[in-house]
Assembly symmetry: C2
Homo-oligomer: 514 residues x 2
C-alpha cells in the first residue's frame, strides 16, 4: 500500500544496526580489541565471507585469532575447530542486534580477537527417555550448541522408562522398551502413583519412540560438521527398567522385573541388571559392541548412578559372584561391573565415563567421573566435594552439580508457563557455575569441564525444552568457555539483553532473563 | 534421580491450577456467572468431555449457553458454530493458568455462560505474496484463530511481487509469477531500490512458492472443521505485477510490463491489467471461474486498491473502452471493471468484496467494501470516514483501518527483535478498535465486522509472523466478539498476563504485552 512505501525509508533506517556499538558476543571472547572502522563484505551471508585462514600451531587447541580490518578478515588457528569457532564469532559480529539477521551488505566492526576455551568438555545433556524429541529437535539443539561454542552432546538414551536406541541383536529393547502404556500427560499429577483412577486419567500411551542406526548416523554427521562429540549413555547396572521389561531374564528376579515400565511414576526402580548372571554381562557387551560400531566417541557413558542393592542382596547368582570374585560386600558388585566394562571398552579403544557413584568403589584411574551430587550424601550437602574428591584421587572429572547445572530446576521467573521438577536455578546461579570450585590446585588438571543436564520428566515438547535450556545454556557456555572467576554477571546480563533477541528472532522459545 | 523423586510432590502441588480462581477467557464472554463448586471430568482431554448438546433456535447465530454444574456440562446453541465456540470456551476453562495444558483429571469451575459475537465478520488477513508461509503455518494460524473465535481468513494470494495460486489454464502464472529473482533478504536495506550493487547484496532469489488445488482443498477442509470461512483475494485491476510479468499481453503496455517482478522493491506498480483489452477480461474471468470451483466462500475478494491510472490514460484500448461504454473519465474504468466482475460473480452465486477504493465509482449496492484507509485521502486523516461513508451509502462494510488493524506496524516494545514497515499499533491501540466508530446509528447494520491485516514485506518467517500477530490478534478477537465500548483495557490486560502463558506454552512466539 502507498502508505507503506512512504515509510519504508524511515523504517529501514531504524532497523539498521549501528556497527559502531560494542560487539555483543556470547560466550565472551578471552581478549577483544575494537578498532575504528568497518569492513563491508560484498556478500550478504556470513558463510560466504572470504576469510584468509592460516594454521598457527602456537595457538591453543580450539583457539583462534580473528582479525577484521577495513581490508578484510583473517583467521589463525591451531586446528579446524578453532577456525570453526572463529566463524561462530564472525556470525555474531555480523548479526544485527535488532534482528537475528545479518545486515546486508555485511558491516563488520574492525576487531582483533584472541580467543580459546577454558575447558575442553563443554557439554549439554539431553534425556530422551522420559520424553522423546526426535531428530529434528536434536539437530536444533546441536545448532544452538555450536553457535555458543559447546562441543559435547551427552545423549541419555536408556533408563527405567524407555530404551531409545535400536539394537538389531535385541529387537525387544525397542519393540517393548521404547513404548510406555502409562506415561504422565502434561499437567498430570505424578504424586499419586498407584491410585489406578488417577493413573488412568493422568497418563497416555507414549511411543514407541526410538532411533535406528541410520537416524544416529544422520545426527552424528550433523554433529561432526559442528565439531560436537556425541557421547551416548547406556545406563547400567541401575536405571535399567526398560531393558529388563523387554528381557526379564537379565534381571535378578525376572517375575517382578516386568512391572516397572507399566507403572506411571518417574525415578528409578529397584529391579536392576543382575550382576551375577553371565548372560546379562554378555547382553550388555553385545549392546556396547553395537554402540562402539555406531559412535566414534572415544568416551562412552555407562551411567552408574542410583543403583539399589536390594535385589543383589536377595539374588543367589549375585551372592555367588561376590564369593567367586572375592569381594567383601554386595556394594562391591557395582565396582566389579564398572571394572569389567571399563576393561571391555578399553580393549576397543574407548574410555568409560559414569555418574560419580562409579567412583565409590575400586575402579581404574582411566574411568572418568561425572559429578552430579554436591556432597557424598545424595543431593543433600551444598559443596562440590564429590567432584573435587574424584579429581583429588586422580580421575578426570566432568562437573554437573545438580544445584547449578540441572535445567529441569525452576528458573524462578514471575511469568513461567512450564512445569519443573523442583529446585532453583535462576540465570545468575547458572552463571555462577565454576567447574573448579572446591578442587585443590594440584587436582585441577583433572577437571575436563562441565555440562548442563536437561532431564525431561516434566518437559513434554520442544517449546518447553527450549524455554528451560535458554537463556541458561548461554550462561553455561560462558562459564565453560571463558576463564574462571572473576566473571561479571551484569556484563553478561547486558549482552544477553541483545543476544536473547537474536535467539527469539531465530524462533527459539527463549525464557526471559529474570 | 532420587533427589528428583523427593521433590515431585511439592513441584506437582505448585504446578496445580487453582480452580477457584476467576476463569480467564479470551475473548471475554458476554455474560458469565461463576458458581461455587467444581465438575471433575473423568477424562484428561477437553475434546472427550461428555457434553449434553441441544439446539435452541432462540439463541443468536454462533452464540451458545454453556452450563457447568458439579453434575456435568451442557451446551445449548442455535447452530453448529455456537456449539463449536462453547467447546473453545470449555478448552480455556479447563486450561491451567500456569501451563497451557489441561489439569488432569479436568477440574472445571461451575459456571453459566451466555455468549454470542458482536460481529459476524471476525477476520484475520494474511499476505502470502510478499512472503510465503505454506500449508503448515497457515493451519497454525487457523488453529489459533478458532481458539479465539475468529471466523474469516482473508487470504491475499496475488500481488505485484507474486502469484501464489496455481491456475491450470495459465501455467505461467506460477511458473514465472511465483518466483522472484530479487526479493529482499531479512536485514536488507529496501530504501535503495535501483542501485544495482545494493540490490545484489541485499536480495535473494525467492520461490517458486505457490499452492496447488490439492493444497487449497486441504486448507479449506481444515478451516471448515474450525468454522472458518476462507475468502481468497485475486487483486485487480492493480497490484497485478506478477500476473502481467507472466502474461504481458494482459497489460496495457506489454513491453514495459515484464520489468516489475524483477526489481527488488515493495509496493505497487504502474503497470496494471488493461481495462480495454477483452482478452484481459476473459483471462480474469477464467481465473475467477477456477477460484469459484475451488472456494466455497460466498464472498470473493477482488482487491481494487491503489490502481494507478497512468497506463489507462496512455492506452488506446482503454480509451476506446471509455468511449464505447460512455464513461466520463479514465477513473470510471475501474468502476466499470468492478461492475463487470460483480455481475460475473453474481451469476455464479457469489458476492464481491474489495478495498474501499472500489466504492469511489458507481458500483452495485451488493458490493462489500473493505475499509483500510482512514479518510478519503489515502492514509492521511485520522477518522474512519471512508468506512463510515460506505456504510452510509448502503454498502455492507468490513473495517480494517490501517492505523488500528495493520499488524505489520510497530508494537512499540522496548525489546523487539523484528523489523516493521513502520506505523504504531501497540496492544492498547489494537484493543481500542471499534468497527462502528464514526458510523451513523442507522448505517451500523451494514458493518459486518472487521479484521487485522498481516502484510508481510518485513515478515520473513513464521516466528516473525507469530510475534506480530500475538498478542494483538487477541485484542482483535475481543474487539470483534464482545459488545462495543465501554471495554476495559486493564481487565483485558490482566487476563492476557495469564493467557499469554498459554500461547507461549503452545510454542507461539508471542510478543510481550508492552
Amino acid at each position: 500500500m502507498n502508505i507503506k512505501c512512504l515509510i519504508v525509508a524511515a523504517s529501514a533506517a531504524l532497523s539498521c544496526w549501528n556497527v559502531f556499538a560494542e560487539p555483543v558476543l556470547v560466550p565472551a571472547p578471552r581478549k577483544m580489541t575494537v578498532r575504528s572502522g568497518v569492513y563491508c563484505a560484498s556478500v550478504a551471508d556470513v558463510g560466504s565471507i572470504e576469510v584468509q585462514e592460516m594454521r598457527d600451531a602456537s595457538l591453543p587447541p580450539e583457539g583462534y585469532r580473528l582479525t577484521v580490518t577495513t581490508g578484510g578478515v583473517s583467521v589463525a588457528s591451531a586446528d579446524a575447530a578453532g577456525a570453526f569457532y572463529a566463524r561462530q564469532t564472525l556470525r555474531q559480529l555480523a548479526e544485527g542486534a535488532a534482528t537475528g539477521a545479518a545486515s546486508a551488505p555485511l558491516a563488520l566492526p574492525c576487531v582483533e580477537i584472541v580467543d580459546s576455551p577454558a575447558y575442553r568438555w563443554r557439554g549439554a545433556h539431553l534425556d530422551e527417555v522420559r520424553h522423546f524429541f526426535g531428530k529434528e529437535n536434536v539437530k536444533r539443539v546441536l545448532d544452538l550448541m555450536a553457535y555458543h561454542k559447546l562441543n559435547v552432546f551427552h545423549w541419555h538414551l536408556t533408563d527405567d522408562e524407555g530404551w531409545r536406541l535400536e539394537i538389531p541383536a535385541y529387537p525387544e529393547l525397542t519393540r517393548i522398551g521404547a513404548a510406555r502404556p502409562n506415561s504422565w500427560k502434561r499437567g498430570g499429577k505424578p504424586h499419586k502413583v498407584g491410585d489406578r483412577r488417577v493413573i488412568d486419567r493422568n497418563t497416555e500411551s507414549y511411543g514407541p519412540y526410538f532411533y535406528t542406526a541410520d537416524d544416529v548416523r544422520e545426527i552424528l554427521a550433523y554433529a561432526a560438521e559442528r565439531h560436537i562429540t556425541v557421547v551416548p549413555e547406556i545406563e547400567l547396572p541401575g536405571h535399567a527398567g526398560a531393558a529388563i521389561t523387554a528381557y526379564p531374564q537379565f534381571a535378578c528376579m525376572p517375575e517382578g522385573a516386568r512391572e516397572r515400565i507399566w507403572d506411571a511414576g518417574w525415578g528409578n526402580t529397584v529391579d536392576v541388571f543382575c550382576a551375577g548372571n553371565d548372560e546379562t554381562i554378555r547382553f550388555l557387551e553385545r549392546v556396547l559392541d553395537h554402540v562402539c560400531e555406531l559412535f566414534p566417541s572415544k568416551i562412552i557413558h555407562i551411567g552408574g548412578d542410583e543403583c539399589p542393592r536390594k535385589r543383589w542382596k536377595e539374588c543367589p547368582k549375585c551372592q555367588a559372584r561376590l564369593k567367586a570374585e572375592g569381594l567383601k560386600e554386595t556394594n562391591d558388585l557395582q565396582a566389579w561391573m564398572t571394572r569389567h566394562f571399563a576393561q571391555y571398552l578399553e580393549k576397543r579403544g574407548r574410555r568409560i565415563i559414569g555418574w560419580d557413584e562409579i567412583l565409590s568403589g575400586d575402579v581404574p584411574r582411566s574411568a572418568i567421573g561425572m559429578s552430579w551430587r554436591t556432597s557424598q550424601k545424595n543431593g543433600t550437602g551444598d559443596k562440590l566435594t564429590s567432584g573435587a574428591e574424584g579429581a583429588r584421587r586422580g580421575h578426570d572429572m566432568v562437573m554437573a552439580p545438580h544445584l547449578l547445572c540441572y535445567y529441569d530446576y525452576r528458573q524462578e521467573l514471575a511469568d513461567d508457563p512450564f512445569q519443573y521438577i523442583g529446585g532453583h536455578v535462576p540465570l545468575e546461579k547458572a552463571y555462577s557455575f565454576d567447574p573448579c570450585e572446591g578442587v585443590a590446585e594440584e587436582a585441577r588438571a583433572h577437571v575436563l569441564g562441565g555440562q548442563c543436564c536437561n532431564w525431561t520428566e516434566f518437559t513434554w515438547n520442544e517449546h518447553d525444552l527450549a524455554w528451560k535450556m535458554w537463556p541458561r545454556t548461554c550462561a553455561m557456555a560462558e562459564a565453560l568457555w571463558t576463564a574462571p572467576a572473576p566473571r561479571d554477571f551484569w556484563d553478561f546480563y547486558k549482552r544477553m539483553e541483545v543476544h536473547r533477541r537474536r535467539l527469539i528472532s531465530r524462533g527459539v522459545n527463549c525464557a526471559p532473563l529474570r
